[in-house]
Amino acid sequence: MSGWYAVAPLIVAVAAAAATTLAHAAPRTQRALSLGGAFALLLAAVALMDAVWRGGMIVVQSSNWAAPFGITLAVDTFGAVMTLIAAITGAACLTFAIPEIEERHRRAWFHPLSHVLLLGVCGAFITGDLFNLYVWFEVMLIASFGLMTIGGTKAQTDGAVKYVSLNLVATLLFLLAVGLLYGMTGTLNYADLARTIPTVGNTGVLTAAAMLLMAAFGMKAAVFPLFFWLPAAYHTPLVSVSAVFAGLLTKVGVYALIRAFTLLFTHDVGWTHQILLWVSGLTMITGVLGAAAQSEMRRILSWHIISQIGYMVMGLALYTPLAIVGSVFYLVHHIVVKANLFLIAGVAARLAGSMELKKIGGLYRAAPLLGVLFFIPAFSLAGFPPLSGFWAKLILVRAALEDREWWIAAAALVTGLLTIYSMTKIWGEAFWKPHPRGDGAAAPLAAAPAAMLAPIVALAACTIAIGLFAQPFWIVAERAAAELLDPAAYAAAVLGRLP
């Protein structure tokens, strides 16, 4: 019966989507159901993490069709960690949304779409089948199109059109790769693919399929040179929506990259992972330089998502046990920090009147506590000890040095340094300098609703906890990485031992 732990997050998310749809005419009930659904998802994810941690990988053959014929759901430590972190982000952002969304946003289906988005994200982490992953991507994308345009402004439509068209191209590449793989191996089950791919003679076509998937997942993860849709779109939606997007959506792409290039395509590591290494270095540098040129808070933070994606891909590209640990650790740290920074930018704009750094200021004098709350994720992002980002970067740089990849270690360190530049820019402009409209133009922290501050405090507490008590998180990441580097064990758990 342990299989029900794996499907519980999906059931909860569908139930929340259905319930909030049915309660659409009753705003209070809908809001209560939406919040209840988000926290029920969190509980389900905690239960799943606990079950996987104690009992090992959970495999469900849905509809009782044996693998590889049916749709397999398979959750290892990595999948469970990602589901948990997605549920935490979802609960935080939906709490933040309660005071943020207005009646017209609610009427544009904010609550049902949010739960469908979380459903897609959790589904992508839980599935054990490549075509099923495609379906979850679609679920996620359709919900995100809807969420992105809530509000109906020109800038939002502009951002959404770019986002939709580039993601459709990625989807097409994904389908092409799936077709190629199915033609070669006759299966799309992860475990069965892991067993069949080494027996494929034509490694050239195999590498072509791998590269198509790399491009498709890379576009979703916003790596160099496929990231243009992200800064064009992420600064336009509601704050709670952009925080969920910033925390989760690109990371689903990173998750898919890590899954594909540890479990499926390890036949030519010298070629595929070397490309990933170059991509990761260029992603870091272009992202951080792009951020330096911006002067709107959410635009700066969007460019930083790109540079941070580079670190996660770097761990995968180095492909040593320590580097994979670094990637997993970085993913967890980054999702918490990034969602939180977007939420803080939302509160800062609410208090000072704008997201544009030129138009605001004086926040430190008006709301010193917000300064502290900003300081924690911002300097964690830059990698200051003892915050979570320090450990994440330390592990990755160490892995690079052990692998004698000097230039990528240097790129990682320089990117960290430039991140401080952007963060001090936000600090100096939004918090330190006086408000252009004089003293008193920025409202005190008390003007922000408690439901907006609570998730910020909770996420900041997570960042500090990961930083100060890194050991338990390290142990989880180490186990996740060990499982990722053992495709044979994954295949055996899904398909049974070889006769």
Binding site: G3, I11, V14, T21, H24, Q61, S62
Partner: protein, 146 residues
């Protein structure tokens, strides 16, 4: 659009299309067809109604607001996956209940059928919501109409 031919044809076609959609839903259980395609045919009937007689007529045909239909469908599809748990089988496993109608005839009712009905309703609700939103004045809020 006000066309006598269209209105006269719709009066005949729309009920037939609705019946065809139910047939497709039932038949799709074991043969080509199913909830998705049936739902699309039913939606075409509603859309025809909307074009010929206006969005209000389409809403009257639907009886319930499209969102509620989609919500009920989603809930039905979810419920269809759960009885497997009571039987200690994996998630989504199909279960059949064969009703004896006498004379050796049986009526097989199953969780896949319930799931298909769910899909049918989600498609009708979802697509009709989009179609009506496109046809109606954006200033009026469709959720507040009876």
């Amino acid at each position: 659009m006000s066309s006598l031919i269209l209105r006269a044809a719709t009066r005949v076609l729309a009920p037939m299309m609705l019946m065809l959609s139910l047939f497709l839903l039932w038949r799709g259980h074991n043969l080509p067809g199913g909830g998705f395609i049936g739902g699309l045919v039913a939606t075409s009937a509603i859309a025809l109604q909307g074009i010929a007689f206006g969005p209000e007529a389409a809403r009257r045909t639907l009886v319930l607001p499209p969102a509620v239909i989609a919500g009920i469908g989603l809930a039905a599809a979810l419920v269809a996956t759960l009885p497997a748990g009571l039987a200690a089988l994996p998630f989504f496993t199909g279960l059949w209940l064969k009703l004896d109608l006498g004379d050796g005839a049986t009526l097989p009712l199953s969780t896949p059928l319930l799931f298909d009905i769910g899909v049918f309703l989600v498609v009708i609700g979802g697509v009709c919501a989009i179609l009506l939103a496109l046809e109606e004045d954006p200033e009026t809020d469709p959720t507040e109409q009876p």
